[in-house]
């Protein structure tokens, strides 16, 4: 398994290389550059700035320089955020994005598995239909609708619950205070809860009809033990292979969530960077995201082997 993991990590290098190359040339194809502005700079100054960032060289040379820097784990300076290197920007944004992303994933996995299992156990009963309609709603209602609606309910009007007025902050990071991350994490987790509960319900129903579960039942095991010890492990396999896409989904969602709630994560850098032609910043964020997804896919594959003894790596 170790050799398999090493092989996969090595296999990720060409994948990243292709992604870097694609993104690099796509960004350079874009009309306009990072230092174009309505007020034209004097030509000498413009020349000096371009020279400082190697932008006066032919594109293929810029590409080679970038690759060389990248090989030394240097993502270069940000073109627009003066005095900051891309690594610094990512280092300040990543903890924020990671905190809300990971919290959302954990909540989604726990709640999604629970709801999916419940629906599967009560197949075609009221609670099944209830959970599944909620899940359908969670999938069809996009993040950028749930975010403002929840903001309005919990942030602006405030919810009166058992005599306690609950009002949550509608934006800002505030050093990652618990109050501030409740809404963004909820918004980010909702679609994932929906998808995961559908996934788990489907696989759980299939597993519950399998022979070994029938055997466990025939032995006289109580229902909760059958589910907990025998069925759940097999039913979670599809969830494990969904981890990679789930991370991608959370990352995409975080673009919106970070914008709506004004969080200083790296999702905002990406959109701003792309609009400002901040080449290096966009490249840095794409590389960070792609690495994350690749690593998550690898973790999923390895977890798969742990959960399913039939899987062998050679």
């Amino acid at each position: 398994m170790l050799s398999y993991a090493i092989r996969r990590i090595l296999g990720a290098v060409p994948t990243l290389f292709i992604i870097v190359t694609l993104t690099f040339f796509m960004m350079r194809l874009a009309p306009g550059g990072p230092f174009d502005s309505a007020r034209r700079l004097p030509p000498e100054i413009e020349h000096n700035i371009k020279a400082a960032y190697n932008l006066d060289k032919p594109v293929y040379q810029q590409y080679l320089i970038y690759l060389d820097d990248l090989a030394h784990f240097d993502l270069g300076p940000s073109f627009k955020n003066k005095d900051f290197s891309v690594s610094q920007l990512i280092a300040t944004g990543l903890p924020v994005s990671a905190e809300i992303g990971i919290s959302a994933m954990i909540i989604a996995i726990l709640l999604g598995t629970g709801l999916g299992t419940l629906a599967a156990l009560k197949q075609n009963k009221a609670s099944d239909y209830g959970v599944m309609s909620l899940a359908m709603a969670g999938i069809t209602i996009p993040t950028f609708v749930t975010a403002p609606v929840l903001t309005l309910i919990f942030g602006v009007y405030g919810l009166n619950l058992f005599g306690y007025e609950i009002t949550l902050p509608v934006g800002g990071w505030n050093g990652g205070a618990f109050h501030n991350i409740i809404l963004p994490v909820t918004v980010l987790a909702l679609p994932q809860i929906a998808i995961i509960s559908r996934l788990v319900r489907g696989s759980m129903i299939e597993v519950l009809h399998s022979n070994y579960v029938r055997t466990a039942r025939a032995k006289g095991l109580p229902n909760h033990l059958v589910v907990w010890r025998h069925a759940l492990r097999a039913a979670l396999l599809p969830l494990v292979s969904y981890l990679g896409p789930a991370v991608a989904g959370v990352l995409t969602g975080s673009l919106v969530v970070e914008q709506i709630f004004g969080l200083p994560g790296i999702g905002r850098y990406f959109v701003q960077g792309a609009l400002n032609r901040d080449y290096t910043l966009v490249m840095g964020v794409v590389i960070a995201y792609a690495t994350l997804v690749i690593v998550m896919n690898l973790v999923a594959d390895l977890l798969y082997a742990v959960l399913d003894p039939r899987v062998r790596f050679d």
Partner: protein, 311 residues
């Protein structure tokens, strides 16, 4: 009902046709018709599509006409409304912050969103089916290389590609089709490849080969028509995800440009005015949610109808 052979050729043909009458497709259609959720969705979706097509006829207002006498006013039946449009109540969904009629704008948004959904899905369909069929049918090294490329693209959150594309080549409706279509074909290619791999082994392909039909003619005439079932199911599920992707881009300010609108733009505007004019969010959001619901139900229904396992 097969009766023993008795007499003329015409009768034999008639019998053959009778047997053909219960093909996969007829069977599937019958099962689909029996699925209430799917049928209701088809009707509802048809109604929304019809309203979108007839939008200019359904409202007295133009989608981009601004009337500063009725800025951000609610429909007159709105509960706890402060600014009611006018006594006539002709602004059924109220107006937006520029005094434009929201009803007609939601319908124009439907035009853009549905068109993007259909066209971008068509683009992804063409690329995905061609790519998957070629990879699956040729097999070997070529297949491995082609699918490896798909894997690479898979490992990038696709929306980032679309955002970069949209930024690079100025925003336009046409580009939106291509950009979304160009990233949505990956799953399609995988599905088609899988189907092709199993179809490749069938006798009729061998027969076509023996008859001297060329590789690409086989792919076009024999392989592609046989992968239609799973592809249709996936298409109905791709359309809503494309509509979502478009509205997502519009929300980030990278979609269609004013005064043209889409559900994503309307929702984005509505989210900004949520406190003062909640109807601006409610109507486009409800329309979009209903549409997405419908496509999902139709997709599920088609899958149940076409899945031979379930027979």
């Amino acid at each position: 009902m097969v009766t023993p052979f008795s007499g003329g050729k015409a009768e034999l043909i008639e019998q053959a046709q009778e047997v053909q009458g219960r093909s996969l497709w007829v069977d599937a259609r019958r099962r689909l018709f029996r699925n209430k959720a799917a049928m209701a969705s088809i009707v509802l979706l048809g109604a929304i599509a019809l309203m979108a097509i007839l939008a200019p006829l359904l409202s007295a207002y133009s989608f981009d006409a601004q009337d500063y006498n009725v800025v951000s006013c609610s429909p007159d039946w709105w509960p706890d409304s402060t600014v009611i449009c006018n006594a006539g109540g002709t602004h059924w969904f109220g107006t937006d912050y520029l005094g434009r009629d929201l009803f007609v704008r939601v319908l124009y948004g439907a035009r853009v969103s549905l068109t993007v959904g259909l066209v971008a899905t068509l683009v992804s369909l063409l690329i995905g089916v061609a790519y998957g069929a070629v990879a699956g049918f040729l097999g070997g090294r070529i297949d491995e290389f082609m699918m490896r490329f798909v894997d690479v693209l898979y490992s990038l959150p696709f929306i980032f590609f679309v955002i970069i594309l949209m930024v690079i080549f100025h925003r336009s409706l046409f580009l939106l089709f291509i950009a979304i279509g160009a990233v949505e074909w990956l799953t399609m290619a995988r599905i088609v490849r899988g189907q092709t791999l199993s179809i490749k082994q069938k006798e009729f392909i061998e027969a076509a080969r023996a008859a001297g039909v060329g590789t690409f003619s086989i792919i076009r005439r024999h392989v592609i028509p046989n992968v239609v079932g799973p592809v249709i199911v996936y298409v109905t599920l791709t359309i809503p995800s494309v509509i979502l992707a478009e509205s997502f881009l519009s929300f980030l300010g990278l979609g269609v440009q004013e005064p043209l609108t889409s559900w994503g733009v309307l929702i984005s505007d509505g989210a900004n005015q949520l406190e003062t004019a909640p109807w601006m969010l409610v109507f486009p959001a409800v329309f979009m949610a209903i549409t997405l619901f419908c496509f999902n139900f139709i997709g599920d229904g088609l899958r149940d109808a076409l899945d031979p396992k379930d027979r």
